[in-house]
Symmetry: C2
Subunit: 193 residues, 2 copies
């Protein structure tokens, strides 16, 4: 989906400063959100306050459709991880996009399929595998996004929040994986070989 097209259609752009909340659990969904610039994270928080990162969305991506389309209140917070500009598209306009925008519905189907794939993978990890395996799977998944030589700009706390582990476990796990040569780390940062 081309963001500029949305702007041309006259849809309003809104700025969300870093750490501002776009929506929170319990709210009734009204929009699909297209990111013009910036980055957001989708986070669920347990009764005891433990955070879990359900997903991260970057410039050019959109989020919030599943809740809107299934008409169920949000389960998660969505929070700007840095200053972001976001276009809110209401239900009616979103349906128009699906109907009139060539290829958009197919693109959306592929996109949802991809997310489903990621979640299935993580479910299997969380349900069945132990800490180090989980961690390695997560790291390898994140590494697919970057080029060799670059390093993952992700903290241990973030890895913990994505894998359902605790920081200390991630720290010890990474040390072990690095020792076994399963990951390479330079100055604490994971680098793609």
């Amino acid at each position: 989906m081309n963001i500029q097209k949305l702007i041309d259609k006259g849809l309003k752009l809104k700025s969300y400063p870093k750490d501002s909340v776009i929506y929170e659990p319990g709210m009734q969904p009204r929009y699909v959100y297209f990111i013009k610039s910036g980055e957001v994270r989708m986070v669920t928080v347990s009764d005891e306050g433990k955070e879990f990162i359900q997903g991260v969305f970057k410039t050019g991506q959109y989020f919030g459709e599943p809740a809107l389309l299934t008409d169920r209140p949000y389960l998660a917070f969505t929070i700007a991880s840095r200053d972001s500009q976001i276009i809110s598209v209401n239900k009616e306009d979103f349906f128009k996009l699906i109907e009139n925008e060539p290829n958009f519905s197919m693109e959306l189907i592929r996109n949802l399929s991809n997310r489903l794939f990621y979640k299935s993978m993580m479910l299997e990890e969380l349900a069945s595998e132990k800490a180090d395996h989980r961690l390695l799977t997560m790291i390898n998944y994140l590494l697919t996004d970057i080029k060799a030589g670059e390093n993952l700009r992700v903290t241990r706390q973030e890895l913990a929040d994505m894998t359902g582990l605790r920081v200390e476990t991630v720290i010890r796990g990474m040390k072990l994986l690095a020792g076994k040569g399963l990951i390479k780390t330079v100055k604490g940062k994971i680098v793609k070989v």
Copy 2:
């Protein structure tokens, strides 16, 4: 999607006896499967042999699209939970359905959204909540499908395989939940009040 329509189009129906495997991990996806009758379960198996039920699909439903559309090898086994009749629709025909069948693409988008919603909920549970909470969430989710007075036809082992717990933990957990009045159980079966 109307199954009869697919049969009218001349697509072939195949019978899968109980416990037969429709596809397994690593295979390259070629079809989307529509269930004319019966029921299948989608299961991932960890390195140590632990099974996790990713989902259950029943008469009238379809499965296998995400892997086909993202062109990635299957992660899971799909196994007939009872004698089933299934129509395999190849990629080309599936795309035709999306393009030509009115409402089908919208229905598919809603369907994928629903599955995503379920997986997000389970991810949060597996990542953050403890055994009894997980169990209760799963049971309540399954109860939404049935009428008051009916009981869940699900074994404790199946509940274990859906929540990532072990049978013993499910057994003890259910006893506790029943004691607290959070679930009602008659002759070992969970019944909807």
